[in-house]
């Protein structure tokens, strides 16, 4: 939009990856004089807000400087050698696929830092908390910015340790086993993924994603491609998570602190789907072609499984935890994303990328809201909250209730809000999958997926009824504080963007579509 020289763009992208790391190291050091604040804790939390704010600002400037007329071209690229022995290069770049994810990550991390500044989760010192949050941000941003397979793996692994400690130290009940399950599952997945990446790199002779994508898998035999996609897919599917590899997710979300859940759902899950789009589709198209129907089948199973699990959690007397419920709903939503990718058509993949962003915004908001409810009531247990008639949030904290209803409706895919377009496009893609894929199978998946949207609507409306509505509160009940100013500041960007993306989807689709077309066509377009 505005003209920024290429070297500044390069700097901005490198800054996005490096600044949080430097900030993490700085957070561990004592604050310099003049920046001490009222207490060491306050100073370090403010440091977190400053650094993530600077990163967000850099991401926004990067977006402004991005050449929106040619989003399929890699921009702001840096390519320097790092480990010649392994042929690993520090190759960074951003195109229409990664740009929205970079901005989403920077935004969500900033909002989380802001939220924790006012509402630090209970646990040990905030110093480590801020440092871990920043390392996490650096790892996710690096995942979306790097263009080298081994560097991608490094960035993918970088988020594990911070997330483990965030859950294990600042989490709620059952946090230790949940944190272990999270890290062991994802590590096992990513080791298998590493084998697939190495197989590709060794057979094709390069680890450079751009070169490999341009090559479009011509140098790799189909059998190798199938094995590589299987290995890489397992690693990415654990992270996404795809049913039946999802079982780490509900526990991790239930135990994680609010900001941990927001980041886990908002950005960490996207690393898996991004990997499918960036690696599996362009680099090993033949292998993906063979395995796409299975991926679609698992994705559809995930849609139905996630919604049914949510429905059973939302029942009266099921003692369902709201955070767990939203975690299961993520399994369903990510199912739509995977279904879109499995169609291997521009429509489906665009839908998947759109649903990715929409899920980050909406589920991030939902986790914030549920965290706030848990803070106020001391529990997220649906039965305890709802009591006999309902929690009556509309009556007791109208703004909070209104926002919750808004987020729930957005999540179920109401037209006009962000949740709608992605899932619709994914289903459209399944209606006419790529050539060579079995159309009847995909039509079945489409029908089942469409039925899943009905189930999704059902459980979300049940949740809204039980949490937001209810008998008029008795006068002797304690007053619930409504949305505070800082909460408003942290949540309103998400709500606004949900509406904007819903009303003006071209903002996102205009970015992703050319890039997706190019990826699917290999070097040809």
């Amino acid at each position: 939009m505005i003209d920024i020289s290429e070297s500044v763009m390069q700097f901005l992208l490198a800054f996005l990856v490096v600044a949080p790391l430097a900030g993490a190291a700085a957070a561990l050091l004592p604050a310099p004089p003049g920046l001490r604040g009222t207490s060491p804790d306050q100073a370090v939390l403010r440091h977190g807000v400053t650094v993530t704010g600077a990163v967000l600002a850099a991401a926004i400037v990067l977006t402004l400087g991005f050449d929106h007329d040619r989003p399929s071209r890699m921009q702001a690229t840096t390519d320097i050698g790092w480990i010649p022995a392994l042929d690993v290069r520090i190759h960074l770049g951003v195109d229409g696929i990664s740009l929205p994810l970079l901005v989403l990550t920077a935004l969500l991390t900033f909002l989380c830092a802001l939220y924790s500044y006012f509402n630090m989760p209970a646990g040990p010192s905030p110093k480590a908390f801020v440092a871990l949050l920043l390392v996490l941000e650096s790892g996710t941003l690096a995942t979306f910015a790097v263009l080298d397979l081994l560097l991608f793996f490094l960035a993918f692994e970088m988020v594990l340790i911070p997330m483990y400690f965030l859950i294990a130290r600042w989490g709620g009940e059952g946090r230790r086993p949940a944190a272990w399950r999270f890290i062991l599952y994802t590590l096992l997945g990513s080791v298998v993924m590493l084998l697939g990446l190495l197989l590709i790199g060794l057979k094709a002779g390069t680890f450079d994603m751009v070169a490999l994508a341009t090559d479009n898998g011509r140098d790799i035999t189909t059998s190798v491609q199938v094995i590589a996609v299987l290995a890489i897919g397992i690693g990415l599917a654990v992270k996404t998570p795809m049913w039946p590899l999802h079982s780490w997710l509900p526990d991790a979300h239930t135990a994680a602190p609010t900001v941990g859940s927001v980041l886990l759902a908002g950005v960490l899950l996207k690393m898996g789907t991004y990997g499918f789009v960036r690696i599996a589709l362009p680099i090993t198209p033949d292998g993906m072609h063979t395995l796409a129907p299975y991926l679609a089948a698992f994705a559809t199973a995930g849609i139905i499984y996630g919604s049914l699990a949510c429905l059973s959690l939302a029942r009266t007397g099921a003692r369902g935890d709201l955070k767990r419920l939203i975690a299961y709903s993520s399994v369903g939503h990510m199912g739509f994303v995977l279904l879109g990718i499995a169609t291997m058509t521009p429509t489906g993949v665009n839908g998947a990328l759109f649903a990715n962003i929409a899920h980050g915004l909406i589920t991030g908001l939902l986790f914030f809201l549920v965290g706030a409810i848990k803070d106020r009531y001391g529990t997220a247990d649906l039965d305890t909250l709802a009591g006999a008639t309902g929690a009556a949030l509309y009556g007791r904290a109208p703004r909070l209730g209104g926002l919750l209803a808004f987020a729930a409706v957005a999540s179920l895919g109401l037209p006009g809000l962000a949740g709608f377009w992605g899932e619709m496009l994914a289903l459209f893609g399944a209606f006419r999958p790529a050539e060579g894929l079995s159309r009847p199978a995909f039509l079945t998946f489409m029908a089942v997926g469409a039925f899943g949207t009905l189930l999704t609507a059902a459980y979300l409306l049940v949740v809204v009824r039980r949490v937001c509505m209810g008998a008029k509160p008795a006068p002797d009940q304690p007053v619930l504080p409504d949305v505070q100013r800082y909460e408003f500041a942290a949540w309103s960007p998400l709500a606004v963007l949900t509406v904007v993306a819903g009303l003006w989807p071209a903002v996102l689709l205009g970015l992703t579509d050319p890039a997706v077309q190019k990826l699917l066509a290999g070097g040809k377009s």
């Binding site: 022995a85 392994l86 081994l150 970088m158 594990l160 294990a168 590590l187 084998l195």
Partner: protein, 515 residues
Amino acid sequence: MTVAAPSAPAAGDLVQSVDWAAIAPPTIAAVAALVVLVADLFVPKRRVKLLGWGAIAGLVVAVAALVPLREGDRSTFCLTTGSGACSYTADHFTLVIQFLVLGGALVTALLSLHDTEEDLPAGEFWFLLLSSAAGAALLPASRDLATLVVALEVASLPAFALVGLKRGDRMSGEAALKFFLSSVTATAVMLLGVSFVYAATGTLHLTEIAQNLDDVPARLEMLAEAGVALTLVGFAFKTAVVPFHFWVPDTYVGAPLPIAAYLSVVGKAVGFTGLILVTVIAFPTYADVWGPALAVLAALTMTVGNVAALRQVPTRAWSAVRLLAWSSVGQAGYLLVPIAAAAYSGDDQIGATVAYALMYAVVNLGAFAVAALVARTHPSNRISDYRGLYATRPGAALAMGFFLLCLAGLPPGIIGLFAKVTVFSAAVDAGLGWLAVVMGVNVVIALYYYLQWTAVLFRAPEGAPGEGTPADRPVPVKQPVPVAVTLAIVVTAAAGVVLSGYPQFVLRFAADTLF
């Protein structure tokens, strides 16, 4: 170096000039050992620290002597006729391993400096350590079986004494005896193997063995095969490869802590170097035999080591050292993978073992250095003793966390991650997919216990409320730390950090042929 070419014909020119610069590194270590032993007679009791600094200086000079050799093209003690095979070669492989061995001995010396003032007899200790280091430095350069066996024994015999050096400690003696018996068995088996190979091929030079094994007379074939197998078994013993690993945990626990560190790094390096030399240089003809065998042994070794490490109870006495001991068995399994891969796709894979060994040496010595620090206040060295280390010694805790994550191979331990990537890539390249998958599972198992230990470091100290402010907690009394131990931790941590920023320093060995 004492072994002249054994098969030199009488007619040849028996007088040859010795390239003293090439053999300087092991020679300097050996000379320093003798000097320290003699000096011990004259140095008064209260100045005993001088001996330690003398030994350290000797090792530093030995390391420095590697610099002029960096071209990697020297060799000496060569046959004057025929193939011209040499007994001592200072190629890149030799130099890297010599650097590893001497550097490892140097860190061990730093760690033991304080102990020798109190518990250990100084003169004997330094003499034994330096002799062992000299043997270990000679081994990678040896290119005939006789020199190889002599070097191996020079490296091992002092190690038995070092393990048993704790005065009046029953466990130390028992550990030394176990180590001695298993090692002597290994040597006996290996010598038998070597003699069979000699009988079948008529030479001791590794390169000539490789040629002659190709056309062994049919009636000697059985003998040659048995010789190869027995020689490999001997080296497997030394490297603590499953099923020859049982001596490791007891020996490590009984030995003085720095010696356990020495065995885990230098002792391993010695075994692996020998294994690489005999497999890749001497017995490439039998690659179809030792390749699959080593692959199976690698899978077994890493699984057994990691599962045993996983089963360590953190509150048991010496659990920290036991865990490090078992995990070193597991790591030995990873080191074997590229050697096995070399059987399928050529010697280039050996570089991955060398790169991994360098990484492992740095971070494992670092972990032992922190363990030595903690052992000063908690002599029984349980893993639970590390709880709250961050509160009392943040620097040591951060370093330990870094070392453990390097061993686990996860960021921020980037060098650990990439060293594992090279090993994985060797396996994938050689088509050993199943071994790569077994290794992947093992990496996850290993992560569990390494991360558990890391988490303990940062937990609130025992007795202090988890959420109290630091001011509420009783201020622990800090004991002063010996300078040498701090130096060892700082050096290893700095090396680890630098390597993480620029892994090419060690990974370059994975890319080229070293021989």
